[in-house]
């Protein structure tokens, strides 16, 4: 009896170890994102949407069983850098994704680059990586940071505003953002203010803004910063007096519920909207709401697409994760159905896609969400592709 059972155990061991050794059909994804603090609403949407995509693909990516290793970067560059090293060296991930904030992206990308680990961005896409520091191992499934701001700059210019006040957090994406806006807006800049990242009280800035008496205000405040700014904007009695514009980041479904009526009616620009009319987007929005009880944001749409992009690339290479060159080529093909409709890659691995004007509305079910109003750009690339030597 004893002999039989030990033989069985031994057989079990052997079976298990051969299985582990061969490890066929597994792909490891490092999900490094912001899950705590004022920026966490973005990271949670990215994580949830990525997991939803994997679930919709039957728990696999490109036919390989997907294991997702989740790490909170706490919106701190040093924490993100250490976590990236751990994901590369200890967990040996095949792909990484999830970083929300561009300062963290710039701090960690050299590590992924050195390890030749493909990083598929579901959000942060700074100008540096689109231009001079472009690398074969970075693909943006989102946008280039300037894009949404460019679209709004274009709209504000077309509407004839002449004296616009600009505000953004002081970090790489904040500077990219206001540069993008000014690329298309040619009027006078009534004020250009960069506040500390994750500042939560804007009373002092709002007083200065009121004193400058602009004819419109443009603010880039993602996550909790946006909630506080928009609420304080209304409390200061400025809503309805001065038109407020923003990129889709400021008025995004992850924070619209917390802003409540303060945000209703504001116009913003993005490459995606929950009401875009294509079958994959309808399925995505419905599945997301069913799974998590809230509407997906633009960040969620980007993460869903990032997962679908990885899926398509692995499928194209027949599951050969070690052939980095073939994998890069397969990613570049972007052979997947994006929830935003048109999507293809430029030579710097940043998207060429369409941008829309959206308006925040409250629907009959009491949900706060964006509605597509009009197209602004078609097949828009980015301003830095010329500086990229790839």
């Amino acid at each position: 009896m004893r002999i039989v059972s030990s033989t069985l155990i031994l057989a079990g061991f052997l079976a298990a170890s051969t299985h582990a050794w061969a490890a066929p059909g597994e792909v490891k994804i490092g999900m490094l994102t912001t899950l705590s603090g004022p920026g966490s609403s973005l990271g949670i949407d990215v994580r949830d949407a990525f997991n939803l995509a994997v679930k919709n693909l039957g728990g696999s990516l490109g036919g390989l069983k997907a294991t997702i290793i989740e790490v909170d970067d706490q919106q701190k560059p040093d924490v993100a850098k250490d976590a990236a090293t751990r994901l590369i060296e200890k967990d040996k991930v095949d792909f990484a994704t999830g970083i929300i904030f561009s300062n963290l992206m710039l701090a960690t990308m050299p590590s992924f680059d050195r390890a030749q680990t493909y990083y598929i961005s579901a959000n942060a896409s700074p100008s540096q990586l689109a231009g001079k520091q472009c690398t074969p191992y970075f693909f943006s499934a989102a946008y280039q940071n300037d894009n949404q701001h460019e679209a709004m700059g274009h709209y504000v210019q077309a509407k004839g505003f002449k004296n616009v006040y600009l505000m953004a957090p002081n970090y790489p994406a904040g500077k990219d953002g206001l540069n993008g806006f000014k690329r298309y807006y040619a009027g006078n800049v009534a004020g250009e203010v960069y506040t500390t990242v994750n500042q939560l009280d804007y009373a002092a800035e709002l007083a200065s803004l009121r004193a400058a008496n602009p004819d419109a205000v443009y603010v880039f405040y993602p996550g909790g910063m946006g909630v506080n700014f928009v609420k304080q904007w209304e409390q200061a009695g400025l809503k309805g007096k001065i038109p407020l514009f923003g990129p889709g980041f400021t008025f995004s479904e992850d924070t619209l519920a917390a802003m409540g009526d303060a945000a209703v009616g504001t116009l913003n620009t993005a490459q995606w909207s929950p009401d875009l009319d294509n079958p994959q987007n309808k399925k995505f929005v419905a599945d997301f709401e069913a799974a998590f009880g809230r509407l997906p944001s633009v960040y969620a749409s980007q993460a869903y697409d990032a997962a679908m992009l990885i899926d398509s690339a692995i499928r194209k290479t027949g599951g050969k994760l070690d052939d980095k060159a073939a994998l890069g080529k397969a990613l570049m093909a972007a052979d997947f159905k994006s929830v935003r409709g048109n999507f293809k890659f430029n030579k710097n691995h940043f998207p060429i896609q369409d941008f829309f004007l959206r308006e925040v509305v409250k629907d009959s079910k009491g949900r706060y969400l964006n509605k597509k109003i009009a197209p602004i750009f078609q097949d828009r690339g980015d301003a830095y592709v010329g500086e990229c030597s790839m």
Partner: protein, 306 residues
């Protein structure tokens, strides 16, 4: 236009000062009377904000939530004093720093487990959500004025209590000479528990009000704690009057530096650089103030202890 801006920024500074005062009043008493360096004071500010948010949502009334959160946090404070802080009175300051730093981590993790890591956004009551025109062209959010008014009223009540009541007399005696007060028959243990409860209750009031202006999140207490210590040191350890004057000074200097420095620097530097430099300079402004005050009066403005 410049005068309007100045008045509005002055009010913003006062409002920050009042929040700091509510924190500093408790801290300066604990520090001055009990001689305990209490780093976890910010945790009670955080608890006040979280309980106000939760209870306010439960009873559908922000004011009721705040009114319930204050005694609840004071009670938690007294229990913490009884369980943990009481053991630290005879220890040196390093032990106190280590133990109360541990309490910060305990409370942060506890809050993360109960409420999650995501911030909660708390709205002021609808009746106070609008703006008032104080002077022609000067608009100010009603709720911020309410914070200012509440803070000043609490300061007045606290001053009255310290000057006119028996408890206040004991507090003053304890602050100026703890050993002598004990020798003269003041129940020091009981007094300490009351002081701690009072301090944590005030922190809860500050947190519950600030939570509506900022957001309710894990670690919100630490960012205000540093400024609170600066206020206590500037005002003089153990002095409520010092805490009030120090808090308003710090609030005004911090807000005015934050708004005036970028304007001054932007004439010479591009906007994003000017704002970076101004942000670092203005965050040092309160410490410069502290150095100046301490150089002039080494025990703070109203330092009671000798």
């Amino acid at each position: 236009m410049i005068a309007q801006l100045f008045i509005e920024q002055g009010l913003n500074g006062l409002q920050l000062g009042i929040t700091l005062f509510l924190m500093a009043a408790g801290l300066t008493l604990v520090f001055g009377i009990m001689d305990v360096i209490h780093l976890s004071h910010g945790s009670f500010y955080m608890l006040g904000a979280y309980l106000t948010a939760t209870l306010g949502a439960r009873f559908d009334s922000y004011l009721l939530g705040l009114a319930l959160a204050i005694p609840l946090v004071a009670l938690i404070g007294m229990v913490v004093e009884w369980i943990a802080i009481r053991r630290l009175y005879e220890r040196d300051h390093l032990d106190q720093v280590l133990a109360t730093f541990g309490l910060i981590m305990f409370f942060n993790e506890a809050v993360r487990m109960i409420w999650g890591a995501q911030p909660i956004f708390l709205s002021p009551p609808a009746s106070l959500a609008g703006t008032v025109e104080l002077l022609p062209g000067i608009f100010y959010p009603q709720f911020r004025l309410a914070i200012l008014g509440t803070g000043l009223a609490v300061a007045a009540l606290l001053g009255l209590m310290i000057r006119r009541t028996r408890l206040g007399m004991r507090l003053r005696a304890g602050a100026s000479d703890r050993a002598m007060a004990g020798a003269l028959g003041v129940n020091i243990d009981g007094l300490f528990t009351i002081v701690f409860g009072l301090g944590t209750g005030l922190a809860a009031l500050a947190g519950g009000m600030a939570g509506t202006v900022l957001s309710v999140q894990v670690g919100m207490g630490e960012s205000i704690l540093i400024l609170t210590f600066v206020v206590v040191v500037i005002g003089g350890i153990g002095s409520i009057k010092g805490a009030l004057v120090g808090a308003i000074l710090v609030g005004l200097v911090d807000t005015l530096a934050r708004t005036m420095l970028p304007v001054a620097l932007r004439s010479t530097l591009p906007a994003s650089q000017a704002d970076s430099v101004a942000a670092s300079l203005s965050s040092t402004s309160v410490y410069v103030l502290m150095i100046l005050v301490l150089a002039w009066r080494p025990k703070g403005l109203y330092g009671a202890r000798t």
